[in-house]
Amino acid sequence: MSAIDENHLHADPAIEAHHPYAGATGALMPPLQREPARTIFQKGAPGRRAFMCPDMDVPHVDVSELLPERFRRSQAPRLPEVSEPEIVRHYVGISKRNFDLDSGFYPLGSCTMKHNPRLHERVAALPGHARLHPLQDPERAQGALELMWNLQHALSEISGLPHVSLQPSAGSHGELAGLLLTRAYHEDRGQTRHKVLTPDTAHGTNPATVTMAGFEVVKLATDANGGIDIEDLRAKADADVACLMLTNPNTLGVFDPNIAEIAEIVHGVGATLYYDGANLNAVMGISRPGDMGFDIVHFNLHKSFTQPHGGGGPGSGPIAVSERIAPFLPVPVIVRDDEGAFELDGDPGEGVGSKSIGRLRGFQGNYGCFVRSYAYICSLGGNGLKDASEAAVLNANYLLARLKEHVVAQYLPLAYGDLCMHEFVLSGGPMKRELQIKTLDLAKRLLDFGFHPPTVYFPLLVEEALMVEPTETETRETLDAFADAIAAILKEAAVDPMIAQFAPYSTPVRRLDEVAAAKTPRIREALS
């Protein structure tokens, strides 16, 4: 705070009202959040413990008889030595150093931070789901297989594509599956193609996946409307192109108006069209990737279908594909016999999976996520899903409009278009130039207002980008409060940009030295 002149902070009443010093007495951080970070390895004392081992109820045999010395560990791993109350306090304590969706607005663009209903946690925890072994015989796991079957059906209907594999573990895993399917599809037709087209608005996982799947990235330009530059596409679409990966609406929140033409061009050169489903929340029940011409779609169950994010997972990234891709789908596939019984077929003789690329992971995928997303789909129903997408788009457009009303538009113009789908991207360029605060500063200052900032500096082609996705589960009051906060910060910056430049002030730690962290990585606690 030394950098800030306290006096003029209070110059403008509007600033004062939002300033963290407003009502400064009684506004100091609670001690438990202020404590310096100590890891669990720095707590406890020798001999302390939480675990009480069940009785050694079998005849004693010396360990050395069962496990020869040379295979044995000589020193116990230096795990913590703490009591159960210490564990609880430690983790409850550090949990309070997290911001979370249940506590506030989280308009992280491209991440679809929609409310996570607790019913889903309840049903996922039922022992029949949570304590079901993945290798239980299918006859005795019929409920699970039916759930997966139903979920596949729903995802198929939502995407407009006939076949689904639930196996991939997250969006990027789905992308990998998609490109391996593409490879197999082309090779099956005797072709080896090398290139995959990705627009410059693409999420980083798209190009990264291209490389991992053994292809080469060819970038496509974005046109003035925020869609694919059709001419660029035409120029680059050739017989060596295996696939075009597209997000639609894309990461600018723009629904590509030329989608039909794009599909035609791509299919014209025999390539597959891949749909990155991270933004599906804009179009559920409104427009379907299959109907747009996509061959392969991944879903992020942890976005559109409200699997909680868990601070970075778990997720689940099922894929849906067209008929021509279906033979290559990962195994096992779920099949249903004439009596309605379900089976897992690891080696289908024909049809779906008959020329499978193989497995992408162990067992059947992240079933726990399936349970939650299936519960979500059951709760909303077909119409409810559409309502959700409509509300998501309405909320985004309303927030956009509110931000246009204020001084905001002058400093934070919308990067493309005038309306948006479920999210929109602002450019912080003018703000940076005219107010001397960067998008990063704005983001950090938002923390002092109790909001999670939008996604920043992505997509890359927008200068000082700010990508805002409110989702359908937020109220109008919240959107208004967020718009007001942005306006207040800009106004405050006009008076003194250092306030934002040095923000945040109300977090357990302030800006962290990321450069130092990467230079000499300390990625584990040093133990003695």
């Binding site: 997290n98 992280l108 949570a130 072994h133 290798l135 996982t205 053994g214 992020n300 059947q364 990625i523």
Partner: protein
């Protein structure tokens, strides 16, 4: 709200953006939405049609295990503060999650005896494939030598991925239940500088403890062929973390990269996921590791804090040059993992390992003493072992099921490999008491005997 936006209707927002040709002109053909209680009842009804490990005496394992998950893990995983945030992109308000990652990394380093760990990958088999990819990035080789002792899912996943990144997978058979050391050395020698990685599982799929040190040493010697500057394969071990309280850690066996399935550590079964994958390595691999890594640093006031670090490895920074495409990983499951390890603690993990070892030994000896049941191998086993039945495994398992016992995994049904016919894989966790094991012995003994009698009778009734 529409007025603020400046449109006449919600429809207009869509009409102005989505071409008519790709609009869905009908309602989705899905059931109507339901009240919370109705959804609950439906999901409960589905759950009721599954036989969970609460509903039978189960010895299923082969990758996921019914270990006891302490109640405090549920509580912590359900805390909004851990359950609902995204990946910690804003470190100032994500210190909780970042510190958990840092602690997790520390615990995994301790367990594996390796100096660096990431914050999790998806799960076990894909971790093997990811390690294979990292090896390829590291040394450019395009052949992977792999022990047949890997879990079939790991083998298959590795092949699927290798198909993408362009590597050939060479399988080395087992002998006496463990990787054939000679064949292993030969395969590596034959591949020479083309070999990017050599992979084995510890304990292996059949429950046998491998001689990890010998396999690592052989891999390096065979590849180098005496040439100290020669390119050597990255030695990768797929480990079972819960055994590492008593088993020599990979870091002390010459292993370069340890990967593994983390489910045993405080994660529920969930019919196979979500869980988490372990990924630890020697220092030199740090900048090629996949996944998030939390690092320690300080803030502008000098306070200790944590950030996602070494992000230049990652897709959102490096895009097509990233060392992996992974984005969303398994943070919450890894949280359960580190809390579980903390709960077990320094002595608990050893005690638990010794309990598993003793009960496994007891079960194995009792079962192998049955008529028609033999050990598949004589190697040490910690909490799982393979038996060779002189009877149809599927039929035996069906009979056992009628008595409420699930005696283990029918290996052939899982692997589809001919040599696995008649093999039953039995897992013992701390939840299975001696009394439970005795019951298994009785029920399995009867089932095998009945099945052999039936086969016998059948044979006799068929005219020669």
């Amino acid at each position: 709200m529409l007025a603020a936006i400046g449109v006449g209707s919600l429809q207009e927002i869509f009409d102005r953006q989505i071409p008519a040709g790709v609009r869905l002109g009908r309602a989705l053909e899905l059931p109507d939405g339901q009240s919370e209680q109705d959804v609950y009842e439906h999901l409960r009804e589905l759950a009721a049609r599954n036989t969970s490990v609460e509903d039978e005496l189960s010895f299923l394992g082969a990758g996921m295990y019914d270990h006891y998950v302490p109640a405090l893990i549920d509580m912590l995983m359900e805390r909004s503060e851990f359950l609902t945030p995204y990946t910690p992109y804003q470190p100032e308000i994500s210190q909780g999650g970042l510190q958990v990652m840092f602690e997790y990394q520390t615990a995994i380093c301790e367990l594996t005896g390796l100096p660096v760990s990431n914050a999790s990958v998806y799960e076990g088999p894909s971790a093997v494939a990811a390690a294979g990819y990292m090896a390829k990035l590291h040394n450019g080789g395009n052949k992977i030598v792999v022990s047949a002792g890997l879990h079939p899912h790991s083998l298959q996943t590795l092949r699927t991925n290798a198909y993408g990144y362009g590597a050939e997978v060479v399988e080395v058979p087992l002998r006496d239940g463990v990787t054939d050391l000679d064949a292993w050395a030969q395969a590596i020698e034959a591949g020479g500088s083309e070999i990017s990685a050599a992979i084995f599982a510890q304990p292996n799929f059949y429950g046998a403890v491998e001689d990890a040190a010998a396999l690592s040493a052989a891999a390096k010697t065979a590849a180098a062929g005496g040439d100290a500057s020669a390119k050597v394969p990255v030695v990768i071990a797929q480990v079972d973390p819960i055994t590492l309280g008593i088993l020599k850690p990979p870091g002390e066996c010459g292993v370069d990269v340890a990967v593994g399935e983390g489910q045993s550590l405080g994660n529920r079964l969930d019919f196979g996921g979500p869980s988490f994958g372990i990924f630890a390595a020697r220092e030199e691999y740090l900048r090629r590791m996949p996944g998030r890594i939390a690092g320690e640093t300080v803030d502008v006031d000098g306070r200790r804090g944590f950030v996602l670090t070494l992000q230049t490895r990652e897709q959102h920074i490096r895009r097509e040059k990233a060392t992996s495409n992974i984005c969303t990983a398994q943070a919450l499951n890894a949280l359960a993992g580190v809390v579980y390890l903390t709960w077990l603690g320094r002595s608990g993990i050893v005690e638990l390992g010794e309990l598993l070892l003793a009960r496994t030994h007891y079960a194995r000896e009792q079962l192998a003493a049955l008529d028609g049941v033999e050990k598949l191998h004589e190697q040490p086993a910690i909490r799982e072992f393979a038996l060779q039945l002189d009877a149809d495994v599927a039929a035996v398992r069906r009979t056992c099921a009628q008595h409420g016992v699930n005696p283990g995994v029918d290996v052939h049904a899982l692997s589809r490999r001919d040599q696995d016919r008649g093999v039953l894989l039995v897992a013992i966790t701390e939840r299975r008491t001696r009394a439970d094991i005795d019951r298994l012995v009785a029920v399995l003994g009867d089932a095998v005997a009945a099945e052999r009698n039936a086969t016998q009778a059948n044979r006799m009734s068929v005219p020669a």
